[in-house]
C-alpha cells in the first residue's frame, strides 16, 4: 500500500477551528505503474519535487549506512528512533511494530514509556497503520484521536506529532513511527517528505532485522530439538545383546524433525527384554515422553515386575502425565533363550510379525492393549505367548517404516516387510535389516523420511548355525583357525574350501584389528551353511566405516620396486571368494562384512590364470 499523507484537518475536517492543512492525495502516482504500486519511486518523485536540501540528503544517507549495521531488533529500533529524531529535529520518537498475528501495534521503544499494545485502527497510531498515511498533527491536545493519558503517565507534554507508516519494499506494513515536538516549531510539508523517505529506509532495515531474529529463533528451536534428540538417542542400546542361540539386531534412524521412537534390547535375569515404542507427534515433547516411558519400563522390569504389571503401571502413570491428545504405542517382550518362549504385550504397537521358518510364512499378531497413556488400565491384559523355532524371526517395525510413502502416496506396508523377510531370512539379522532399509529406500524413490524409523529383529539360530566372538587382537588368529577347523569338521564341509575361508577371515580380521584400533568390542563371526559351502558374516562395532569391497585394486603387474604389501590382502580376498559385501550402520557404528565361499569359488580359484 502507498502511504498517503493525511493531516489532522482531513481526518477531522468537520471540527471547528481546525488548524490542519489539507492536501490532495497523490492517487495518480499510484496508478502510474500499471496498478503495481511502487513506493520508492513515488517517494523519490516527491522528494525531487520538493528539492531536498543537501543537508537533508546527507542526513538520509547517513541514516542508511547507520541502519545497515544492527542485527538485533532492540538496537535497530533505537537506531531508527535516534536517526529520525536527528533528521527531523524532533524531541522524542517511538516505533510501534505491527504484530500481524494479533493485528496490533506494539510499542517496543519509547523513551520513558512502558511497552503498550494498540489495536489496529485505534488512535493516531492505529489510524496511521490502517490507512498507511502520514498524519501530521500540529496541536495534539486539539485532536480527539490523541491520547493524553500517555503524557499524564510520563509527565511529558506532547505539542505536535508526526505519525508515519513504515512500509517495506514488498508493501508489508512493518510498523508506525511517531515523532514528537519539533524543536522550534511544528512539522511542515518538508518534514513530511523527509520523514517519508526516512520511513522507507527504516521499514526495510527493521524488516531485515525481524527476519534475522526469526531465523535466530528457528536456530534456537533447532538446538532445542537437537538436545531432545540427544536425550532420546542416549537411551538406545549401544551394543547388541549377546544371547546364546539368538541373533539380535536393532536400529533407529531419526527423521529430520524429532519423532518419538525408541527401542531397547537387553538381557535381564537371563531373559532377553525387547522394547519398541513410538510416541505420537513431532518435536521435543514425543522425544522426551518416549525417553521417560523407556526409563519407566526399564525400572519396572529390573524390579522384576511381570510384563502385564509393568504395562499397566507405566500406562497408568502416563495416562496421568501425558497431554490429552498424546499417547505412546509400545511393544514389550521377554524371551527366554532356554525354553525359546516369547511372551509379549503390545500397547497399540502392531502388527507384530513372526516369520515362521518351518512354514515359510509370516504370522501377524495384533496388539494386546490400547496405546500407553491413552486412558487408565484396570487390569493387565493377557500376554501373547509363542515359541521361537529354529530360524524363526521376530520382526518389530515402527510405523515410520509401514507408513513411509512413495511419491505416489502409497505406504510401504507390512506385506513388503514380510516379502523382504521371506527373501533374506537365511543370513544374519543385521543383513536382513540392511535389506529392509534398502527396500524401503528403493520404494521411497527419494520421498523424504517424515517419521522416525525403528527396527528390531530377533532370530533364533537355524540348525547348523555357528557364531563366535573374537578379541580384537592379532593374537586371536589361532582361535579363528580353530573355529573354522571345528566348523569344517562338524558340518562335514569340503576341506578344499578351507584355505579360502581362512584366508578371507584372516585378512578381514587383521584389517579390523589394524584399522580400528580404538574399537573395544569383540569381532563377531557368524557362519551359515549355504548350498555348496558357507557364508561368513563378520560384525565389528564401535568403528568408522571402511568399505572393504571398494578398497582400491592393487597393480599386480607393477615391477618389484613399486610393489608394497599394503592392500594385497583385500585384493586377494576379493579374487578368492564368491561374493564380498560390506554394510555400515551409522547409528551403531557397526561394520558388517559378508562373504561366501562355495564349490563354485573353489573351481574358479584353482583355474589357471586367464584374465
Amino acid at each position: 500500500m502507498i502511504p498517503h499523507r493525511r493531516t489532522r484537518g482531513e481526518a477531522a475536517s468537520s471540527r471547528a477551528g481546525s488548524d490542519g492543512r489539507r492536501r490532495s492525495r497523490p492517487r495518480r502516482a499510484a496508478s502510474d505503474h500499471g496498478g503495481k504500486r511502487c513506493y520508492i519511486s513515488r517517494m523519490g518523485a516527491r522528494i525531487r519535487q520538493r528539492r531536498l536540501p543537501a543537508r537533508d540528503l546527507e542526513a538520509i544517507l547517513g541514516v542508511t549506512s547507520a541502519l545497515a549495521a544492527p542485527f538485533d531488533l532492540m538496537t535497530m529500533l533505537a537506531e531508527v528512533v535516534r536517526a529520525a529524531k536527528q533528521v527531523l529535529r524532533a524531541d522524542r520518537g517511538s516505533v510501534w511494530l505491527h504484530d500481524p498475528r494479533t493485528h496490533e501495534l506494539v510499542l517496543e521503544v519509547a523513551t520513558g514509556l512502558q511497552p503498550v499494545r494498540v489495536p489496529f485502527g485505534a488512535g493516531l497510531v492505529g489510524a496511521c497503520a490502517r490507512t498507511r498515511e502520514i498524519i501530521n498533527v500540529p496541536d495534539c491536545y486539539a485532536d480527539p484521536r490523541f491520547d493524553a493519558a500517555v503524557d499524564r503517565a510520563s509527565g511529558y507534554r506532547t505539542r505536535c506529532m508526526l505519525t508515519l507508516p513504515l512500509v517495506d519494499h514488498h508493501d508489508v506494513l512493518v510498523g508506525v513511527m511517531q515523532l514528537l515536538n519539533k524543536h522550534g516549531g511544528v512539522f511542515d510539508e518538508g518534514d513530511e517528505a523527509l520523514a517519508t523517505a526516512l520511513a522507507a529506509q527504516c521499514a526495510v532495515a527493521l524488516q531485515r532485522v525481524r527476519m534475522t531474529e526469526s531465523l535466530i529463533e528457528g536456530e534456537r528451536m533447532r538446538q532445542a530439538l537437537e538436545m531432545a534428540r540427544e536425550v532420546q538417542m542416549s537411551t538406545l542400546p549401544r551394543a547388541t545383546p549377546i544371547v546364546e542361540g539368538y541373533d539380535v539386531c536393532g536400529t533407529f534412524r531419526p527423521a529430520e524433525l524429532t519423532g518419538g521412537d525408541t527401542f531397547d534390547a537387553f538381557v535381564d535375569h537371563g531373559r532377553l527384554v525387547l522394547v519398541l515404542a513410538d510416541a505420537t507427534g513431532h518435536g521435543i515433547a514425543p522425544a522426551l515422553s518416549v525417553t521417560q516411558m523407556h526409563a519407566m519400563i526399564r525400572i519396572a522390569l529390573s524390579l522384576q515386575a511381570d510384563l502385564g504389571t509393568a504395562l499397566t503401571q507405566v500406562n497408568n502413570r502416563l495416562a496421568q502425565t501425558l497431554p490429552e491428545d498424546r499417547f505412546i504405542t509400545a511393544f514389550i517382550g521377554m524371551l527366554d533363550p532356554a525354553t525359546h518362549e516369547l511372551r509379549f504385550q503390545s500397547a497399540g504397537q502392531g502388527p507384530i510379525l513372526r516369520f515362521d521358518a518351518a512354514q515359510g510364512t509370516c504370522d501377524r499378531y495384533v496388539p494386546t492393549s490400547f496405546p500407553l497413556g491413552a486412558m487408565p488400565l484396570a487390569a493387565p491384559p493377557p500376554a501373547v505367548r509363542l515359541t521361537m523355532q529354529p530360524g524363526d524371526v521376530l520382526v518389530l517395525v515402527s510405523d515410520g517404516i509401514l507408513d513411509y510413502r512413495n511419491p505416489a502416496g502409497e505406504p510401504f506396508g507390512e506385506t513388503r516387510v514380510e516379502r523382504v523377510v521371506q527373501e533374506h531370512r537365511a543370513g544374519p539379522v543385521a543383513d536382513l535389516m540392511g535389506r529392509l532399509l534398502d527396500a524401503l529406500e528403493a520404494f521411497a524413490g527419494g520421498a523424504p523420511q517424515e517419521d522416525d524409523i525403528t527396527l528390531l529383529l530377533v532370530k533364533r539360530d537355524p540348525a547348523g548355525h555357528r557364531r563366535k566372538r573374537f578379541r580384537r587382537s592379532i593374537d586371536a588368529l589361532p582361535e579363528l583357525v580353530a573355529f573354522t577347523e571345528q566348523v569344517f569338521a562338524d558340518r562335514d564341509l569340503d576341506p578344499g574350501l578351507r584355505p579360502t575361508v581362512d584366508f578371507a577371515l584372516e585378512e578381514l580380521f587383521t584389517n579390523m584389528v589394524k584399522y580400528s584400533p580404538m574399537g573395544t568390542a569383540d569381532v563377531r563371526v557368524d557362519v551359515t551353511l549355504v548350498e555348496g559351502g558357507l557364508e561368513v558374516a563378520m560384525t565389528d562395532h564401535g568403528v568408522a566405516p571402511f568399505d572393504v569391497s571398494r578398497a582400491p585394486a592393487v597393480d599386480v603387474d607393477a615391477p618389484i620396486g613399486r610393489r608394497e604389501p599394503g592392500g594385497l590382502g583385500l585384493h586377494l580376498t576379493r579374487r578368492l571368494v564368491d561374493s564380498l559385501d560390506y554394510a555400515y550402520d551409522a547409528s551403531r557404528q557397526e561394520s558388517r562384512i559378508t562373504f561366501r565361499v562355495t564349490n563354485r569359488a573353489r573351481s574358479r580359484a584353482t583355474m589357471p590364470r586367464q584374465e
Binding site: 618389484i560 604389501p565 590382502g569
Partner: protein
C-alpha cells in the same frame, strides 16, 4: 604354527601357517639370510598377505645386493595366491612335485 629353519640341502624350509600372527617370526629369520636363497614351501599349508609382505621385503633386500629368493614346493592353493597377487612375476616359483 609356523616352523622355519635351514633344511639339509641348504634351503630354508618353512612349514605350517604363515599368517599375520606368525609373520614376525618368519621376518626375523629371513632378515638373516644372504645371497640367493631357496625357500622350500612344500610344508606350508597357508599364507596370508602378511606372509606375502615378509617375502616381498626379503626379495627387495636380497635383490639390492644381487641375490634373490626362489620359492620351491609351492602347493596349488598357495600358487593361486601368488598368481592373483602378481607375485609369480616377482619370484621364481617352482611348483610342488
Amino acid at each position: 604354527m609356523l616352523t622355519i629353519d635351514y633344511g639339509n640341502d641348504g634351503a630354508v624350509v618353512a612349514a605350517g601357517r604363515l599368517d599375520a600372527a606368525q609373520a614376525p617370526t618368519a621376518q626375523a629369520f629371513l632378515d638373516s639370510v644372504q645371497g640367493t636363497v631357496t625357500l622350500d614351501l612344500a610344508g606350508l599349508d597357508y599364507i596370508s598377505s602378511a606372509g606375502l609382505g615378509v617375502l616381498l621385503k626379503t626379495q627387495k633386500r636380497l635383490m639390492s645386493s644381487g641375490g634373490r629368493l626362489r620359492l620351491s614346493g609351492v602347493r596349488p592353493h598357495l600358487r593361486d595366491i601368488f598368481v592373483y597377487s602378481g607375485f609369480d612375476k616377482l619370484f621364481e616359483i617352482e611348483p610342488a612335485r
